[in-house]
Structure formats: C-alpha cells, structure tokens
C-alpha cells in the first residue's frame, strides 16, 4: 500500500529529529505533509499512503451525513468534578483546556441526521477531547442518543475513538460501562439497531461497553481496538506482541468485527446498512 517517497528535504537531513513530535498534519507513516484544507478534502486520509489521520467530531459528522441534515442534541451537557480530582493539575482545569482546544463541550457529539436520505441518530466521539475518555457526561450523551433513536424508530450510528474510562471521575467513570450498556439494551428492546464504527483508537471501557455491542461492527483500517493497550500488555506479560496486535485487521481475522472499511467508503456502507435496517423504507 505504501510506496516509499523520495526524501527531498535535504536541508533537514542532518537535523536531529528523535524525540521531536511530528506536526499533526505530517503523515506518521510516509512523512508527507498537508495543509488542513487538503486533508479535509481527502477525509483526513493521506493521499500518498492511505494512512487515516484522527478525525475531529465535526469533520466526521460532515463526512457521513447529508448536508444540513444534522441537528445536534444534548449540546449543553458538561462534565462535573464529583471527586474534586487533583492529580498534577485539577480536573476542572483539564476540562476547560480541552473545551478551548477542541471547541467541544465533551468528548462526544450526538444528534439526529440523515445519511443518503435515511434517518438515523448519530453519536460521534472526538479523541482530541481528553483522549476521548468516557466520564459521566459522555455516558449520559450516549444514553440520550439511544433514547432518541428508540423514540424515533431509527438506528443509532456510533463512531467511537476513546482511550477508555475517564480516571478523573473514579468509580463513576467505570459506572458508565453498565450505564451505556443498559441504554443499548433499552434501544434493542425497542427494536432499534446499533451500528458501531470503531475508529483509532477504541480501547478500555468504551470497547468493553457500547462499541462492541453493535448489531453490525465496522472498523477503520489500522485502528487499534483492544481492551488493554499494547504497552500495558507488553509490560504485564513480557510477551512479544504480534505486529498487528489489536488492530482492526487482526480483530477481523479473529471474528470480532464484520468489516474493515476505509474511511472514503464508510458513508456508502453505513447508508446501505441503514436502508437494510429501516422498516418499510424509512
């Protein structure tokens, strides 16, 4: 898939680059660099090698839904700080910083939408908001998305990207696993479908709850989907990890997901599923 590029950056050949972080718009796989608008046009997929950059929630929504059809819900839900949590910095400070950085109120955006003409509910996570971690606010938003889908009799399309439960909310963050699962079960009892799209990375508590419970589970190429991250597994077991440890392709091989879908094909795949799950043509 990836063809090695000829390095034309001669003036930087000797520049030390070990611990230096790459620019977010530089492809970590082939080192091609793009402007924001170039990547926006290609759905944040590297045109050179096919690497899938992280996608912001707003861009994701725009890439999936019919133009102008998205109506956001529960936009005012915010996290609180029930434990007065303070590690190296206060949790409230981290929250405020994340909101400033991302322009989002939380790590998940939900709302009603249409995809290729078919109505659905959408819940989209954003990894750039505190690593997409799930606290009470994310759990609540996802639950409301389930209810909204059930009420309107439409499927819920969930896009996950999360490092897991949000430690700063302690045990209440863990309780978002049973909470979101209970909401999914209510949706399924009401006859609703859940289509789960796993984006890079989906790990820990989110994988161990709603993201795994889709009637259909899709994943983007090379996205990490594992309960424990590679570093934890390596440190705990001292095992040599396979090259494709926890990746979507490995999960597909072991039968945990239905299909690996490159981002440019996602919309068409979801649209087809929505048509198939819709009752009497809607």
């Amino acid at each position: 898939m990836s063809t090695p590029r000829i390095d034309v950056s001669i003036e930087h050949r000797d520049a030390p680059e070990p611990n230096q972080r790459k620019h977010p718009n530089t492809c970590p796989k082939c080192d091609s660099h793009y402007r924001d608008d170039e990547l926006e046009r290609t759905l944040w997929v590297c045109p050179q090698c096919g690497y899938h950059f992280a996608m912001k929630a707003r861009s994701r929504i725009a890439s999936l839904v019919d133009e102008g059809s998205f109506v956001e819900e529960a936009a005012d839900v915010r996290s609180e700080d029930p434990l007065n949590f303070f590690d190296l910095r206060p949790y409230t400070e981290r929250l405020a910083e994340a909101e400033l950085k991302t322009g989002l109120g939380e790590a998940m955006v939900i709302g009603q939408a249409r995809i290729d003409g078919t109505g659905c509910e959408l819940s989209v996570m954003d990894f750039s908001f505190m690593g997409g971690s799930m606290g009470s606010a994310v759990g609540e938003k996802f639950s409301r998305a389930c209810d909204s889908a059930a009420e309107r009799g439409v499927p819920l399309v969930s896009v996950s990207a999360s490092g897991g439960a949000r430690m700063q909310e302690g045990i209440l963050a863990l309780m978002q696993l049973p909470k979101t699962v209970a909401a999914v079960e209510d949706l399924k009892d009401a006859g609703g479908a859940l289509i789960s799209i796993v984006a890079h990375p989906t790990t820990g508590g989110v994988l161990a709850s709603f993201a795994s419970l889709g009637d259909v589970v899709l994943a983007e190429p090379q996205s990490l989907m594992s309960f424990a991250g590679p570093r934890v597994v390596q440190q705990t077991t001292r095992e040599k990890l396979p090259d494709d440890f926890g990746l979507a392709e490995s999960n597909f091989r072991f039968g945990h997901i239905d299909k690996v879908v490159p981002r440019p094909d996602l919309r068409a795949n979801v649209a087809r599923l929505l048509r198939l799950f819709s009752k009497n043509g809607d």
């Binding site: 029930p82 606290g135 302690g170 045990i171 696993l177 161990a208 709850s209 990890l241 072991f254």
Partner: protein
C-alpha cells in the same frame, strides 16, 4: 467551632442513617458500625484510611470466592468450561443451595499459594472466563435461579491471547446479559473490584460491598503511572479517586456496605461469611417478590441514573 471536614462527616452520617436498605434491627448495627468508621476517619487522615482499605482488600489471607462458597452453600456443584474453548480458573461458576433455594453463583477466584495463584491467574480472567460466567447466568435465567456474583479481581487479564479472543467484547456482552436477566441478581465486591473486569459481573439489582473492599476504574498503581507518571504514587492516586466502600456508597454506586469482623474479613472468615450471608439473604428476600420484567426495568434504570454531570 465545627470545621468543614466535621460538617461533611455529619452530613454523611445523616445520609447513612436515612438509608433503609439494610432494614430492621440490623440497620442500627450497621449505622453504629459506620459511625465507628466515620469516627476513625475523623481521627485519622482520610488518605491513610483509603489506603488501609486497599491493603485489606488485597490481604493475602482475605477470604476468596470459594471460601465463601464452602461456608454459604449446601449441595454446591461447580460448573466448568465456556463450551467453546477453555475452562478459565480465574472465574468460578456453579449452582448450590443457599437458604433452601437453588441459586447460581459466579465470582472471580484468586489463589492462595504460588501454584494456585498461577492456576487462577491472580483472579484476572480471560474472555473464556466471562463466557463461562455468561453461560451460567443464562442457565440461571432459564431455571429461575437467583444469581449471586462475588467480585474480586485486579482487572481482566491484559494479554495477547485475551485480546485475540475478544476481551473487550466478552466484557461488554457480560454487562449486556446481566442487563437482560429476568431473575433477582445480587453482586458483592468482596476484595478488589478492578475496572471493567469487575463491573462485568456487577450489573445487578443490588450491589453490595464489603467494608474493606475497593471498587475502582483503574488500579491505584495504574492511575499513578498514567497521571503522576510514577506508579510509586499509588497512595496519592487512591486518595484522589477514592475506591473505598464509603465513597462508593456516597456516590450511589453501591446499595449497601457489608460489615466485616473487627480487623477485616481475614481475621475471622467464618464471621465474615455469616455477615455476608445475612446481607445476601436480605437482598434476595427483598427482590424475590418482584416481577421479572420489573426487576429488569429497575435494574437498568438504576444503572442509567449513575453519573454526575451538568
């Protein structure tokens, strides 16, 4: 003059007094017990008290699931295997007579000596363990046996095979199955309630916690390693995310605290088993008159109400 700290404790005690989940004469004993605990907290620093719970929850002589099975059940019959791949010894499942009725039990099991510990994988289950748990829950559901789960795990096992066999999905589905059961279900955290591997067995109608058990989103060491970038700061991390029974009770995560004998469950396993049996009996008697779909509805509503947000 009352300090903020004292005021908080008084408020806490007032709230505990108003709880009538552990009804009758036992309530007063329970409140007395908690009052003693609160007094202890008032004297010592809270951080130390939380860390004491962490140490007791992991005490090497603490009674494990099978220690309670021996003392609580008659006619115990252990079930083995997930009917697919393997028999995971980190999770024990079976049926037995409890108080004259057949119940199903699922719980994590740690080992006592080195050989046993390795055999039980230190109480850390693979997906096969959760699948064994699920088939036992389904059996209970079909035959209307109430389900008791005893939770005691540092967490689900983080290994290559565990991931390849679908750890995340197995934990998700165990939660989901518990949300669908139409039988009375009672969970008790009896030691470490570590992360999703613990809550996968604790989506129950009543969630109890032993006095010195802990229930947390991540281990204190794991949290310290990530947020403080130093696993040695585990004590600080535990103080920050408060995994002890009292805090879990305050946050509405658990419905009741099961008293332990003076000094902790390990100092008197028989006494600890008696107190646990009493709490389980009471919870089951509470739940058994309820209609199956009512149980399910309330159980989901209970968990869906958890969380603090604006």
């Amino acid at each position: 003059m009352a300090t903020d700290h004292e005021l908080r404790l008084r408020e806490r005690l007032a709230r505990l007094r108003s709880v009538n989940l552990l009804g009758g004469a036992r309530l007063s004993a329970e409140v007395e017990k908690l009052q003693r605990q609160l007094e202890r907290i008032a004297e010592e620093t809270t951080d130390e008290d939380i860390w004491h719970s962490v140490e007791l929850a992991r005490h090497q002589d603490r009674p494990y699931t099978l220690d309670y099975v021996d003392r609580l059940f008659e006619d115990w019959f252990e079930l083995h295997g997930d009917r697919g791949r393997a028999d995971d010894h980190a999770i024990v499942a079976g049926i037995g007579r409890f108080d004259g009725r057949t119940v199903a039990l699922v719980g994590q099991q740690k080992g006592r000596d080195i050989k046993d510990r390795i055999d039980r994988n230190f109480g850390s289950a693979h997906p096969e363990g959760y699948r064994k748990a699920m088939r036992t829950m389904e059996l209970a559901d079909r035959h209307d046996f109430p389900l008791i789960t005893l939770v005691d795990t540092p967490g689900a096992y983080p290994g290559v095979a565990a991931e390849q066999h679908g750890q995340g999905g197995a934990i998700a589905r165990s939660h989901a199955l518990m949300a669908r059961l139409e039988i009375p279900t009672v969970a008790c955290i009896i030691g470490e309630g570590g992360s999703g591997g613990a809550s996968a067995l604790a989506l129950a109608d009543r969630v109890l916690m032993q006095e010195n058990a802990i229930y947390s989103v991540i281990s204190p060491e794991g949290c310290a390693a990530i947020l403080w970038r130093d696993a040695g700061e585990a004590k600080k991390a535990a103080a920050a995310f408060k995994p002890d029974a009292l805090h879990c009770f305050e946050l509405g995560v658990i419905d009741g605290i099961v008293a332990e004998p003076e000094g902790g469950a390990h100092s008197d396993p028989d006494g600890a088993a008696r107190l646990l049996a009493e709490a389980l009996r009471e919870a089951l008697e509470d739940l058994e008159p309820m209609a199956p779909d009512e149980l399910k509805r309330r159980r989901r509503a209970r968990f869906r109400s958890l969380g603090v947000f604006a």
